[in-house]
């Protein structure tokens, strides 16, 4: 991956998708769960942005928020902004949103075995997308569906197009789902753990396929996974999420070489084989807390090996890790690392207060 060239042009290019202070909360009888709590990131054309984190860290809710698929009791809170190609998505009506779904932004889900409707043929489901967004019908649509299946590497596509999902293997089904997602030439493809349910060889094939398609179509991809290996393989840029917040954001090589946030460090240490001389695999003790109140402290503090007193008092904001860091932010009171601890804490404190003021 041509990391260096990309980062040079990155800031100049207009982002395709720009998420600003996205907050999605679920209002249950008992409590309000802030599944996504004020995250911001950009995706540019032709770029793959990875979102990584444990189960329950808000990755999938982020994807669904962008797709406008958050169901009640969930709601995107006021003050959130999702801009796609210059348009604000959060203000769109349901009807306007439907044109974007599948048309401009497509999504591939986690489990290929269940993401195709079992009672309709694969071709029928691809053609449905073509009809909805491009008004294609009949023989022309069939032709296009066959081309799409061929493009995702399904052999004998003209026969396969008439078959039902249960006649496809797992890997083939995920290819079919990808074909369906690509049917209307989207500009952004959201992949929500597309390889989790597949075995490793198939996983590698699917990742390669996505890579090829990205190159051919100049796709922007948002790649959600909890697998650090997959992230390293696919992404140009990584956002690490924890309990609804982005805790670290950096280009992929920088992140793997110099992880700054204690959580990212923990994640990387817990990859089997990364610490060859250790007896036991290192883990991060405990679970992701349920974010059910506005954060006025660091949500990772209970599990953090480097926690200190201020962590329970000051909410860390995303800051550049040091003065000459290029595009590497971490939400941790230890940074900016070139300032003294007191000053660093003060920076976060000030930023947090500023934000509150602007929010009100």
């Amino acid at each position: 991956m041509a990391q260096t060239e990309r980062t040079e042009t990155r800031s100049e290019q207009e982002p395709l998708l720009s998420v600003e202070n996205l907050q999605t909360a679920f209002f249950t009888d008992k409590e309000v769960i802030r599944a996504v709590d004020g995250i911001s990131f950009d995706i540019r054309r032709g770029e793959t942005v990875g979102i990584v984190g444990e189960s329950g860290s808000g990755k999938s809710v982020t994807a669904r928020s962008i797709m406008g698929l958050v169901d009640t009791p969930g709601r995107i809170l006021d003050g959130s902004s999702i801009r796609f190609d210059g348009e604000e998505l959060t203000d769109k009506t349901e009807k306007e949103y439907r044109n974007i779904r599948g048309g401009d932004i497509a999504m591939v889900f986690q489990d290929p075995l269940t993401s195709l409707n079992p009672v309709y043929s694969v071709g029928n489901q691809i053609k449905e997308a073509l009809r909805l967004h491009q008004g294609m019908k009949g023989a022309q649509a069939t032709e296009e569906a066959i081309d799409l299946l061929e493009a995702v590497g399904i052999p004998d596509a003209s026969r396969r197009v008439k078959e039902y999902p249960h006649e496809f293997s797992g890997g083939m089904r995920q290819r079919a789902v990808i074909a369906m997602a690509l049917a209307c030439d989207p500009e952004l493809l959201i992949c929500d753990e597309p390889t989790t349910a597949l075995d490793v060889t198939i996983q590698a094939q699917i990742l390669e396929l996505l890579d090829d398609l990205q190159e051919k179509r100049d796709l922007a991809i948002m790649f959600i996974t909890h697998d650090m290996g997959v992230i390293a393989e696919t992404s140009d840029r990584v956002n690490v999420m924890y309990a609804g917040e982005v805790v670290e954001s950096a280009p992929v090589e920088e992140l793997f070489a110099n992880p700054r946030h204690p959580y990212t460090q923990g994640l990387l240490k817990s990859i089997p084989g990364n610490q060859p001389d250790a007896d036991r695999l290192e883990t991060i003790e405990g679970d992701v807390p349920t974010p059910n109140e506005p954060a006025t402290y660091c949500r990772f503090e209970p599990r953090c090996p480097k926690a200190f007193d201020d962590c329970t008092r000051v909410h860390p904001e995303g800051v550049e890790v040091n003065a000459d860091a290029d595009d590497h932010t971490a939400a941790c009171l230890l940074y900016p690392e070139d300032e003294s601890r007191e000053e660093a804490v003060a920076v976060h404190d000030r930023r947090g207060n500023d934000e509150e003021v602007t929010n009100e």
């Binding site: 439907r98 489990d111 269940t114 993401s115 195709l116 409707n117 079992p118 009672v119 967004h133 039902y164």
Partner: protein, 343 residues
């Protein structure tokens, strides 16, 4: 294997079922306390006449001989003559004169269940945990829980004096004058129903209480299962995928949810058809509709062996046919159902 070969196989395989069913019927009839001879003779018959009649009916022959005669007749569709209920009338004739009323009753009770139960269930499933869902679900449970013999009696007594109970609403005089009990007035050539709207209305109104009673349990059942099926489908991944594809809500419901939710309903609907056979015996007796169920009941209480055996055989045949129809529906609705077993 093609669809048609599959069905040829199914039909072939249903023959042992028929043989088994007919044999059990024979056993139950002969082993039970049915005594057609004394039913014909009355309580004070003399032994000589008794023996004469026994000989005439072939009841003095060894059981295996009777069994073979019985089976051969059934499977050559020679259903014989009634002994007691209407002596010397062929069973065919009896069935032809009694069946239209039962078919009329069964038709409406299945229809009521399908056209009220399923839409209500789907509506409740599409709007889960709303007030209307609770009303529909609760109604479904209550409806399901009322046994039809009880409901039949209550409905009959309420409707026959409705002007006293239902604030002056007089059911018997409403639209067309009818009384609650008694057979529906079906015109003699049956297609008179479709040419004469007044006849149709009269026959429909007459059968409505019985059809509601007979369809009530099925209706509640189909409502509950329909609701569950929709809820299960609506939360499945392929619905999410379809949403992410930009499918509008209407086509989401009718194309993606409806057909999948129908799959678990198929055996429920066809299963209900079996219940109707048993239920119609009860309901027809209460509402005094002289249909097949009533005829069957008469046949049993009078020990009319050929009538009971033949009617049982017809019921078994019906069940087998309904089962095959059910499998046909399955292969149409759900492409995952294979023809060659395994795979």
């Amino acid at each position: 294997m093609s669809r048609w070969r599959y069905f040829a196989k199914r039909v072939l395989l249903s023959i042992p079922v028929l043989v088994f069913g007919a044999s059990i019927t024979f056993l139950v009839i002969r082993a039970g306390p049915l005594d057609p001879v004394s039913a014909i003779l009355g309580p004070q018959g003399d032994p000589q006449a008794y023996e004469a009649i026994e000989r005439r009916l072939g009841l003095n022959q060894p059981l295996w001989q009777q069994y073979i005669d019985y089976m051969v007749r059934l499977f050559t569709f020679d259903l014989g003559q009634s002994w007691v209920v209407q002596p010397n009338t062929s069973v065919y004739e009896l069935v032809l004169s009694y069946a239209p009323r039962t078919i009329w009753l069964g038709f409406w009770s299945v229809l009521i269940a399908i056209f009220i139960g399923i839409p209500l269930g789907f509506y409740a499933g599409l709007n889960p945990n709303t007030f209307s869902d609770y009303v529909a679900s609760f109604g479904g449970i209550v409806w399901r829980a009322m046994p039809n013999f009880w409901l039949a009696v209550i409905l009959m007594s309420v409707l026959s004096q409705s002007e006293k109970i239902l604030f002056g609403f007089d059911w018997e005089a409403w639209l067309v004058p009818t009384i609650v009990t008694g057979p529906p007035p079906l015109p003699d050539p049956i297609w008179g129903l479709f040419t004469n709207p007044d006849q149709f209305l009269r026959a429909l109104k007459k059968i409505a209480p019985a059809a509601i009673v007979l369809g009530s349990a099925s209706m509640g059942n189909e409502m509950r299962i329909g609701r569950t099926a929709v809820l299960e489908t609506i939360n499945s991944n392929y619905i999410e995928t379809a949403k992410a594809k930009g499918v509008p809500p209407r086509s989401l419901v009718w194309k993606h949810i409806f057909r999948n939710a129908l799959i678990p309903l198929v055996p429920i609907i066809t299963g209900e058809a079996f219940l109707l056979i048993g239920g119609s015996v009860l309901v027809e007796t209460v509402f005094d509709i002289s249909g097949i169920g009533f005829l069957f009941f008469q046949g049993i209480t009078n020990g009319d062996m050929p009538l009971v055996g033949s009617l049982m055989f017809i019921f078994i045949l019906l069940v087998v046919v309904i089962n095959i129809v059910q499998d046909l529906l399955y292969t149409i609705i759900d492409p995952r159902v294979g023809y060659d077993g395994g795979n």
